[in-house]
Amino acid sequence: MKKVFALVSVLLVMAMFLGACGKTPATEPPAASSDPLRIAVVSPSSVNDLAFTQSISDALKVLKAEMGDGLEYAFSENMFVVDDAAAAIRDYANKGYDIVIAHGSQYGSSLQEIAPDFPETVFAWGTTVDTFGMANVHAYEAASDQGGYVNGVMAGMLTQTKIIGVVGPIETGDAKLYVDGFVAGAKSVDPTIDVRVTYIGSFSDVALAAEAATTHIAAGADILTGSAQMVVGAIGKAEESGLYWFGTQADQNSFAPKTVVASQVYHWENILREIISLRAAGTLGGHTFTASLQNGGQVITFNPEVTISDEIKTKVEETIAGINDGSIVIPKP
C-alpha cells in the first residue's frame, strides 16, 4: 500500500504544480535577411491568453507594423517550466538575437546566470524592478495598481448591491498589485463597499475561476474583476448572469462584448521603443521602466458596446489626472 500512497501523492503534487501553469514551446524561425533588429521573447503562457502574454505579443506586433523589415522577432510561449525558459533564453542569445525579453518574474535567477555570458546582448526582464546591477539587463514593470484603482472607482460607482467580487490567481506580483489597487479604488468611492477577494491558487484552472465567479455571484456580488489568463472562465459566468466585468492586462472587450465595461491594457511598446533607442545609443541595460497611465504604458480602454454615464466618465478622467499629477496616492494595503 505504500506504493499506492506514494503514487497518489506524486499525482496530487503534479496536479497542483500543473494547476499553476501552462506549456509547450513554439517558435517562429528567424529569417536571416540583411540586418534587421532581432528581438526574442520568452513568456510563460500563450500569446492569445487575453492577458499577460498577449500584452507583450501585441506590443511586438505594433513594433513590427512600424518597423516592417527592420524587425525580426521570435516568440517562445507557454514556457511555464523555468528550466525550459532558461534554455530558450540562452538559445536566443547564442543565435545572436539583439534583444532577449524574459517576460515573467519567475525567470530572474536564470537571467542572472545567463546575462554575463552574453555581454553584447540586451536582456529585458519583467515584471520586476531588479536589473541585478548588470550592464546589459533592463527591468520593466507595470504600475497595475493605477489601472486597478481606476477600474475600482468605476466599479464602486456602478455597483448596486455594494458587493464586488475579485477572482485572483496567486497572491503575488502583478496580480496582487492590480487587486490591491482595485480594492482601494472601489473603497475611495464608498468605504462601505464590500470588495471580496478570492485567490484560486492557479493561473490556468479555468474551471475553478468560473466556480469562484459563481460563488461571488451567489453571495451577492453584482460586479466582478480579476487578473491573469484563467479569468476567461469567470468572465463567462459574469456574462451568463448579465453582470459587469472589469479587465486587466489585455483588452478583454472582444471576448464578452456586453459584459466587459473597461480593461486596463498594457502597452509595452513604449518601453520597447526606449530599449531599442537606448541600444542604438550604446546603452545595453541598467534601466528600470514602469508602464504607467502617465507614460502611456497603461491605457484604460472602454468597451464601446457598454454605455456608462458621463458622470462616471468624468470621474475616470479626474482620477487618471489625479494619479498622474500625484494628487491621488494609491494606498498600499
Binding site: 492569445n48 487575453l50 492557479s202
Partner: protein, 310 residues
C-alpha cells in the same frame, strides 16, 4: 463569520458548485477505473481531456451542435485510448511512461490545433441548465441536484451504471479477471488483449467527455492547458476510491466540495490565508487516503505486461 457558512445560500452554493466541479472527475475517473481494473494504468488522461475539450469546443463552435461536439470528443478520446492500448498491449511499453507521453501529446496537439484553427479565446453557447420537472421544485435539494446541465446528470448516472457493468455482467467479470490474473483468464479463453483494448479505449472515450464537460458544459470556452492537472487528480481518485465506482464518487465529491467550500471561505472573508484555503482539498484528500487506503488492494496485474507463455 464562521457562522455565515451555515446559511441556506452558502450550503446550496457549496453543494451545487461541488457537484459541477466533480463532473469532469467522475467521467475521467470512471473511465480510468475500467482500464486499471483490467490491468492498465493510463496516465495520459490529462492529454485525452485536453484534446477532448478542444475538439468538443471546435465542433460546437462550427456546427452549434453540442451533442456533435460531445460525439467528436468521444471519438478523439477513443483514438487516443486505442493508441495507448496498442503501445501497452502490443508493444509492451511501460505503462507509466507511455501515459506521460500521451499526456504531452494531447497537450501539445490541443495547443497546436487551437492556435491554428481558432487562434483567440472565444466563447460558444454550451449546455444550458435543465430544471428537472417537479424535482427541481423541491426546496434546497431541487436547486442543488435538479438544476444542472445535461452532462452533470450523465456523470452521476454513470456511477451506478459502471457499478452494474463491473459487478453484475459477464463483461465486468472478464475485466476483473484480466486485471487480477490474466494467465488464468487467458487459459479460460478470455482474450486479455481484447479486454484491455476495450477498457483503455472506453477510458479514452470517457476522458474525452470529461474534457467536453469542461469546454462546452461548465465553461463554454477553450483555453490552452485548461484542465490544469485535473486528469492527474482523476487518476489519483481511482486509487482513492479503491477501484470502485462509488468509492470514486465519494472521492470526487469530497475533493470538489472542499474546493467549493474554500472558495466560500474566501468570499465570506473568513480569516484563513488564501494559500492555505487553496491547499485544503489536496491536504484533506491525502489525509483521508492515509486513513482509508490500508484495507483496499489494487488489481494484482496493474501495470504488468501480459505475455502468453509458450
Amino acid at each position: 463569520m464562521i457562522s455565515d457558512l451555515f446559511s441556506a445560500t452558502v450550503i446550496i452554493g457549496i453543494v451545487s458548485s461541488g457537484i459541477r466541479l466533480a463532473t469532469p472527475y467522475l467521467f475521467a475517473s470512471i473511465g480510468e477505473m475500467f482500464g486499471q481494473r483490467s490491468g492498465v494504468l493510463n496516465l495520459g488522461v490529462e492529454g485525452q481531456m485536453l484534446l477532448g475539450a478542444f475538439v468538443a469546443f471546435y465542433v460546437t463552435l462550427n456546427t452549434q451542435n453540442l451533442w456533435l461536439g460531445v460525439l467528436a470528443a468521444m471519438g478523439v478520446g477513443a483514438l487516443m485510448g486505442l493508441a495507448m492500448a496498442f503501445v501497452t498491449v502490443n508493444l509492451h511499453a511501460t505503462q507509466g511512461i507511455s501515459g506521460i507521453g500521451f499526456y504531452l501529446f494531447g497537450m501539445g496537439m490541443s495547443n497546436l490545433l487551437f492556435q491554428k484553427l481558432v487562434g483567440t479565446v472565444e466563447g460558444v453557447k454550451g449546455f444550458q441548465r435543465i430544471a428537472v420537472p417537479l424535482l427541481s421544485k423541491i426546496p434546497v435539494l431541487g436547486e442543488i441536484f435538479f438544476n444542472q446541465n445535461a452532462l452533470v446528470y450523465l456523470a452521476f448516472l454513470l456511477v451506478p451504471v459502471a457499478w452494474f457493468v463491473l459487478n453484475k455482467t459477464t463483461l465486468g467479470l472478464k475485466i476483473r479477471a484480466v486485471g487480477e490474473n490474466p494467465e488464468a483468464a487467458d487459459s479460460l479463453g478470455v482474450s486479455v488483449a481484447g479486454i484491455r483494448y476495450l477498457t483503455v479505449t472506453m477510458g479514452g472515450v470517457f476522458s474525452g467527455i470529461a474534457g467536453a464537460s469542461l469546454s462546452i458544459a461548465l465553461l463554454n470556452v477553450f483555453q490552452q492547458n485548461m484542465t490544469a492537472g485535473q486528469g492527474f487528480i482523476a487518476v489519483a481518485l481511482v486509487y482513492f476510491g479503491s477501484w470502485k465506482p462509488f468509492g470514486i464518487l465519494g472521492g470526487a465529491l469530497l475533493f470538489s466540495l472542499v474546493n467549493a467550500l474554500q472558495l466560500w471561505i474566501q468570499v465570506l472573508g473568513i480569516p484563513i490565508p488564501a494559500e492555505l484555503a487553496v491547499m485544503m482539498p489536496y491536504i484533506l484528500t491525502i489525509l483521508v487516503l492515509t486513513l482509508s487506503v490500508s484495507k483496499s488492494r489494487g488489481p494484482s496485474a496493474l501495470t504488468k505486461v501480459f505475455e502468453r507463455e509458450g
